[in-house]
Symmetry: C2
Subunit: 320 residues, 2 copies
């Protein structure tokens, strides 16, 4: 009876509990860039690696990512798989992704599938049903997905409905972390930028899907690299949990992401991908050398957790 | 020597030649909705089918889609695979997709991978390199992809650069065919709707990637269901080849899509998915019954080709 009851807890309340349990909103992004994999995982240099058989590349990616999960599996509440790096390797890469999602879930990690999908009606249903919910309810076993809003409401609702039915979540792109995100997102319509229109819609959906923690199953992606917009959006989206990319390699610091949180330290998860996965390449961790890449990952994860604890309201998560 | 020279022809010129050769701009969308597959391909009724093992579903989808390609392989110039319906079936579905792309190419069909991807910098590169170019240059073997513009220029350029380097193409969502597409796309900024801002950017890129036929490797997705916008966009995007969804089941007719073409009958390809794949369910073709679904597909494809020839400038393609 208990497991059945357990599965009835909404995504957002499971996320809140996981963040409290692990005491940190740090989210590790699993982005296995071929060119950056450690040499004992995949020999040959950068571009030459692309010439290796895809099967060989997929084996290396699986081994590396499993090694990442083995380190961080008990340190953080949630991981995010960047689907592009698996899709890049063809069907073999997608098989690796499916196995790795299972690997992550065995550590009790929540799993975001970052595919930024978006399509019309029945096609959106196919994406949503394939991605959301534990296997075998879904094919890919994600707890949450990222979606792109350009196609409008009828492209987003199928994701939200499937998510709510399966105790899953949806993070809608609002203001992304890339330098060129403003080209369309910052266009001013009816007195406010496009991203604020998307924000208003997302906040409505968050209210509609609100859990016991006060946030909704529908969240928003807001980049760490746009400090002011992060603060602005926190104000106008009080029920929307933020997925904040752009920390670390892209330039965002713990101070930059501090406005993403509410005063109790909830309301945001902060993603770091390359800064953790490829920490062995960072000067601060070069003491480990390329073969001890897992120790570098552990040190970098601890560093991020400490920085978020010191410089953001997330420090209050562990002082209760 | 000839094949090497052949591969140097830009995507857009290959598309133009293929459209002329087959004498039609009809594009068949390969969207294998599980619920609509013929009963001799997959037994059981609609929703109960989802309970079958994924491996079984993937075999059925592969068999059905191969059967579609066997009928239309010499009738139309190009097909579009809707990735969602393959991704929905997990790794097994993605393996089926890879095989089916190969099957399509053996008929000389050009292949669009419709994933509406969009992500930042190095992630966009991973998507683009995985999808664009014949296997084994890419993992998926697409001639062109669809992309979503919300993330802005630095998310789109990696697709365009990879496409140009590999004689591929990119279709950017401009005005989509779904009823709710206006929520964000129609917001007025600086005196014109968002989709016009996207259109202006796409047209610039089309000019920059122009082939001998006068159109560019960067095209635009413009729905058949918004007749006026189609005519408006044809005016302001003279170098942009249109991919026009929404024909058939979504309500668009040949007359609706006529404004997508230039006076010589070039400049657009028109997609029909369900109206062709599941023609055996349409009243006009019920005489074939569910087991003769391939004959229904052939009749529906001929019907679409004829309607486009009669009611649009595409009729001029064959009268030269």
């Amino acid at each position: 009876m208990m497991p059945a009851a357990e599965t009835k807890i909404r995504f957002i309340d499971r996320l809140e509990q996981a963040v409290r349990r692990r005491g940190t909103p740090a989210l590790v992004g699993i982005d296995p860039h071929l060119d950056l994999l450690p040499p004992n995982i995949l020999p040959a240099e950068g571009p030459q690696r692309r010439l290796l058989p895809r099967q060989r590349l997929a084996v290396a990616v699986r081994e590396f990512c499993a090694g990442v999960l083995d380190v961080i599996g008990s340190m953080v509440p949630i991981v995010k798989f960047q689907m592009a790096f698996f899709e890049q390797l063809g069907p073999e890469g997608m098989s690796a992704l499916a196995e790795l999602v299972g690997h992550a879930r065995r550590y009790g990690l929540l799993v975001i599938l970052d595919g930024k999908r978006g399509d019309i009606g029945s096609t959106a249903v196919a994406y949503a049903e394939g991605m959301l919910g534990p296997a075998p309810v879904s094919s890919w076993g994600g707890d949450a997905v990222t979606v792109s809003p350009y196609l409008g409401e009828d492209s987003l609702q199928p994701f939200i409905e499937t998510a709510v039915a399966r105790q899953g979540g949806v993070f809608v792109l609002v203001k992304t972390s890339n330098p060129g995100s403003g080209l369309f997102q910052d266009l001013i319509a009816e007195g406010m930028p496009l991203y604020r229109h998307v924000a208003a819609w997302v906040e409505q959906q968050a209210v509609r899907t609100k859990g016991r923690c006060g946030y909704g199953d529908v969240g928003g992606v807001v980049g760490a690299t746009f400090h002011e917009q992060l603060a602005e959006l926190r104000q106008v989206m009080p029920h929307t949990w933020f997925l904040v990319p752009g920390y670390g390699t892209q330039g965002g610091t713990a101070r930059d992401v501090a406005p993403a949180f509410d005063p109790t330290g909830l309301g945001a998860i902060v993603n770091n991908s390359r800064g953790i996965l490829f920490a062995y390449r960072r000067r601060e961790f070069e003491r480990f050398g390329p073969t001890r890449w897992q120790e570098a990952i552990e040190a970098a994860t601890r560093e991020m957790i400490d920085q978020l604890r010191t410089d953001t309201p997330a420090g209050r998560l562990t002082s209760r």
